[in-house]
């Protein structure tokens, strides 16, 4: 298995490399409550998550809501203990603060198996908690919102409730045992007090800590269907996003920058654009210019009138392919070999080899990247959607030269992300503009074309799968994967060094739960070509496809049943269970010319999927997709269904038709006419079964994705005999 010497803990090297040393003392001290800063006597902040003022209760829900329902579930976790109605109290994301560190985020950067629950995994979780706090990892990602919030927010709600009861007991001269709480009120014999009425009394009350949490059997909201707090406004058109931000005297901006980052502004002819109606100015920003106008459309129209000679281009498709081919199976580029069991080079049986590949992809959330900034020499205010507010704060301090205390980040909900809002280029652009217009609010909106051609892409990846089959069984499996490093690309943008292997290159492959006498997974790092980033499920988005297509090919060569043979190779009980469940859901009786199965284990969640397809005259029709997953515990069954289904269809849509290519060294796809996305007519009937088998609770935003594409590809093989080894699939087969 994996020796200790190979167990380079990336976060440790990252922290040391960045000159940050943290210890137990810093960890134990605990972060201060950021809500107390400048808090008036008419308000009370009980824990960093509960704010009371004259209007009532505001729940602070610091994880970014990018559409996955983060705000609603955070509010429900707090409300379950605080005894308020999440539908009627307010929520707010709170300020950028280390108090909102993510205790689970760093674990995704460590070589800890997704299925791990042993000592090493527990140790990594502990390191992640320390690192999250010490490194101020106030960020959203890795499907960590619920795992991180599950205990912490319930504890914050319970602590606030008991503190409020103590204040009420003090005012009424009663024991807290005489009091109970309900719907934002303390109920005493003969008296009812709204929480906000107790603000004056709370000043003299110490926050009650370490309150025992209610047993799940007592829950009134969690664990059963409930209405997401954003659902009505989103259906009535009243929900507001960053691109809806309006401030008095605001001007509109849109950037025009070099598709090759860091290559400068080239030669830009702007005379015609400057003369267009509504154009206020055209100002320099990094790698280009921004058009300032009195309306988004006038800014974008003028931007199109700028004639640019960028003075060159980046690597082409051919160069990118060559770079990946050069790295794959080349020891000079080896990044990790986290799984090396037995000896695959001497494994007996019939040998098999196949090559696989996936292209670069764009996040392309439907709301284009945007940010609103109001700069003055003393203060910078920012309104934007961000998954990493504290990183952004540091970046903006660097750009403005102001102290972090002078910068205010107002986190807004996003019209999608899929990892995009981890990046912040558009906020930097808006800030560069705002510094040239002190005192005037600037709302920058990237055109779809700018957004798509200046992406931080899901890396392309190439893989070579080998294996042997013997006596009707899969005997050995050896998978090599070559890709650019997401972690090193992201850290380079944060000006932090990356040391050690990038686990994301092999995620969901090296730690797949199959037990084979000979198994090896090797990651090869392709040198930097274009900026790459976290795209929903990150490395698992391609490794699930590589591993589960290879596994299906080996099983077919062995002549075994795809479900039965996988079960034979699985010992991990949760993985076995979801595979058995999905086989039950689909009434599995072999591939039967229609069905394909896949199993992945990412973000701690085993997911099994079966796709059913039909080969018609018009192409492949996907009729059904069944999904079984174990989340440990199910807090919101309606939203978990939405997340599993949405992630799987997101995976299928991109697998069928999406790619970002660079024929001339710049992105060829500029908008949704060439960057294809799943449409309603292509969507199968999706049936999910979310299990709560106990153990640690897990997030649902990403784990549904990796198994979808291989399940579809394996179903297409069942229907046509053709193996889909390269994405996008529609280059090989037609889809109806």
């Amino acid at each position: 298995m994996t020796g200790p010497s190979r167990r380079t803990v990336l976060i440790g090297t990252l922290a040391a490399g960045a000159g940050i040393v943290f210890g137990v003392a810093a960890y134990r001290r605990g972060p201060a409550n950021p809500l107390l800063r400048g808090l008036g006597p008419d308000k009370a902040a009980i824990t960093p998550h509960v704010l009371l003022d004259a209007d009532g209760v505001t729940l602070i829900t610091p994880r970014a809501d990018v559409g996955q329902g983060a705000t609603s579930i955070q509010a429900h976790l707090l409300a379950e203990e605080l005894d308020v109605d999440p539908a009627t109290v307010r929520t707010a994301p709170g300020p950028a603060s280390g108090a909102y560190y993510n205790s689970k985020a760093a674990v995704e950067w460590m070589p800890v198996a997704a299925s791990g629950d042993g000592i090493v995994a527990r140790g990594a979780m502990g390191i992640s908690d320390v690192a999250g706090r010490a490194l101020n990892l106030h960020l959203t990602g890795g499907s960590t919102t619920v795992p991180d919030a599950y205990d912490r927010l319930r504890a914050a709600g319970a602590s606030a409730r008991e503190t409020i009861k103590a204040a009420a007991a003090s005012r009424l001269g009663l024991s807290v045992d005489d009091l109970r709480t309900e719907n934002g009120q303390v109920i005493a014999p003969g008296a009812t007090l709204g929480y906000a009425e107790l603000i004056p009394d709370l000043a003299g009350i110490e926050v009650v800590q370490d309150v025992p949490l209610r047993d799940p059997s007592q829950w009134r909201r969690l664990g059963r269907a409930h209405l997401r707090t954003d659902m009505a406004d989103k259906s009535l058109g009243r929900f507001r996003y960053g691109s809806d931000m309006v401030l008095p005297d605001m001007i509109h901006a849109t950037p025009v920058t070099n598709p090759t980052r860091g290559a400068g502004a080239g030669t830009l002819e702007t005379t015609a654009a400057r003369a267009m109606r509504g154009v206020i100015d055209i100002v320099p920003i990094s790698d280009g210019v921004a058009v300032l106008a009195d309306n988004d459309w006038r800014a974008m129209k003028a931007a199109r009138a700028i004639v640019a000679d960028w003075g060159g281009a980046g690597p082409t498709d051919a160069q990118m392919a060559a770079a990946h081919d050069a790295a794959l199976d080349n020891d000079d580029f080896r990044d990790s070999r986290l799984a090396d069991i037995g000896d695959v080079t001497t494994a007996t049986g019939q040998a098999f080899t196949a090559d696989y590949g996936v292209p670069y992809l764009s996040h392309a959330p439907l709301e284009p990247a945007n940010a609103t900034v109001l700069y003055t020499p003393d203060r910078t205010q920012v309104w934007t959607a961000t998954q990493a507010p504290l990183f952004l704060l540091g970046t903006l301090a660097g750009i403005t030269g102001q102290d972090k205390a002078q910068i205010e980040i107002n986190a807004l909900p996003a019209g999608g992300s899929f990892g995009h809002r981890f990046e912040d280029e558009w906020v930097r652009q808006a800030t560069e503009i705002a510094m040239q217009r002190p005192g005037q609010p600037v709302r920058l909106t990237q055109s779809r074309e700018q957004d798509m051609t200046h992406g931080f892409y899901r890396p392309m990846a190439r893989a070579r799968g080998r294996g042997t089959t013997e006596a009707g069984r899969v005997r050995s499996l050896d998978l090599s994967i070559a890709a650019q490093s997401v972690v090193s690309s992201q850290l380079s943008r944060a000006r932090m060094p990356a040391v050690g292997p990038d686990v994301t290159i092999v995620a969901a492959a090296w730690d797949a739960p199959y037990v084979l006498p000979d198994r090896r997974v090797t990651g090869y790092r392709v040198p930097s070509l274009v900026p790459v980033s976290s795209w929903r499920s990150v490395g698992a988005s391609f490794n699930g496809f590589f591993l589960e297509t290879l596994m299906d090919e080996l099983i077919a060569k062995a002549g075994a049943d795809p479900v039965e043979e996988r079960l034979r190779l699985l010992e991990e009980p949760r993985a076995r269970r979801v595979l058995e469940e999905v086989a039950d859901m689909a009434s599995w009786n072999g591939p039967d010319g229609r069905f394909g199965v896949a199993l992945t284990f990412a973000f701690g969640v085993p997911v099994a999927q079966i796709a059913e397809v039909r080969n018609t005259a018009g192409g492949i029709v996907i009729d059904n997709l069944w999904i079984a997953a174990d989340l440990g515990r199910v807090l919101d069954p309606v939203n978990i269904d939405a997340q599993l289904s949405g992630a799987a269809l997101f995976g299928i849509g991109h697998a069928i038709g999406a790619e970002i290519t660079f024929p001339e060294g710049t992105p060829h796809q500029t908008n949704f006419h060439t960057y294809q996305s799943l449409r309603l007519w292509q969507a199968p009937t999706v049936t999910t079964r979310a299990l709560g088998l106990g153990g640690d609770i897990r997030g649902a935003g990403e784990p549904g994705l990796p198994a979808a594409a291989p399940a579809l590809g394996n179903a297409v093989f069942a229907a046509t005999g053709q193996r889909l080894r390269q994405m996008p699939f529609n280059r090989s087969v037609a889809f109806a």
Binding site: V66, G67, Q68, G69, L227, R228, D230, M231, A232, K234, S235, L236, G237, R238, F239, R240, Y241, S243, D244, V246, H252, R277, N295, D296, W297, R298, A364, P365, L366, E367, P368, P413, A414, G415, G416, S417, F418, T445, S447, R448, V638, N639, A642, Q643, S645, G646, L649, F650, G653, N671, F672, H673, S677, L678, R679, L680, W681, A683, T685, V686
Partner: protein
């Protein structure tokens, strides 16, 4: 030019080639319709023009002089949501929600002209609208709920 939006008449002077989307959003302050692509391929900007669903980014100001436009916020209210909006809430369709204004306007237009569409008609009509979160199964479910609940006039 003159334009009525959600029942309110407006007199406004803009260049004739300004698309309706930005006329609504940036000149008149109706923020329900969204910008997603600007080329009529995503449907996030869908509004009703004289009762029919159109891509507001593909209709120019010159074409809507004297027209009656309904945005998502004119379709229904919190107190009295349109049956399609009520179905969208009941089925909890939205994830990020950015496309849903357009999806709902497209669905309301479909059902206003065809109160009992077949599955193929639903697929054909609704495939003009992109949902990157892939809420499509629930869009279908919400449409069927709205159809079953009736009262779509």
């Amino acid at each position: 030019m003159q334009i009525t939006v959600d029942g309110t008449p407006h007199e406004i002077t803009v260049e004739g080639d300004m698309p309706l989307l930005w006329l609504l959003r940036d000149e008149l302050g109706y923020l329900g319709p969204k910008y997603g692509c600007g080329i009529g391929h995503c449907g996030a900007c869908t509004v009703h023009l004289d009762g029919l669903a159109v891509r507001a980014c593909q209709i120019t100001a010159a074409e809507v002089d004297g027209a009656d436009v309904t945005t998502i916020e004119g379709l229904g209210t919190p107190e009295a949501p349109h049956p399609v909006q009520a179905a969208w809430i009941a089925e909890q369709v939205a994830q990020c929600g950015y496309c849903q204004s357009g999806q709902i306007m497209q669905a309301a237009s479909l059902l206003a002209t065809n109160p009992n569409p077949t599955d193929d008609e639903i697929d054909a009509s609704m495939s003009s609208n992109l949902c990157r979160c892939a809420t499509y199964p629930r869009i279908r479910a919400a449409l069927r709920r709205a159809i079953a609940d009736g009262d779509l006039t």
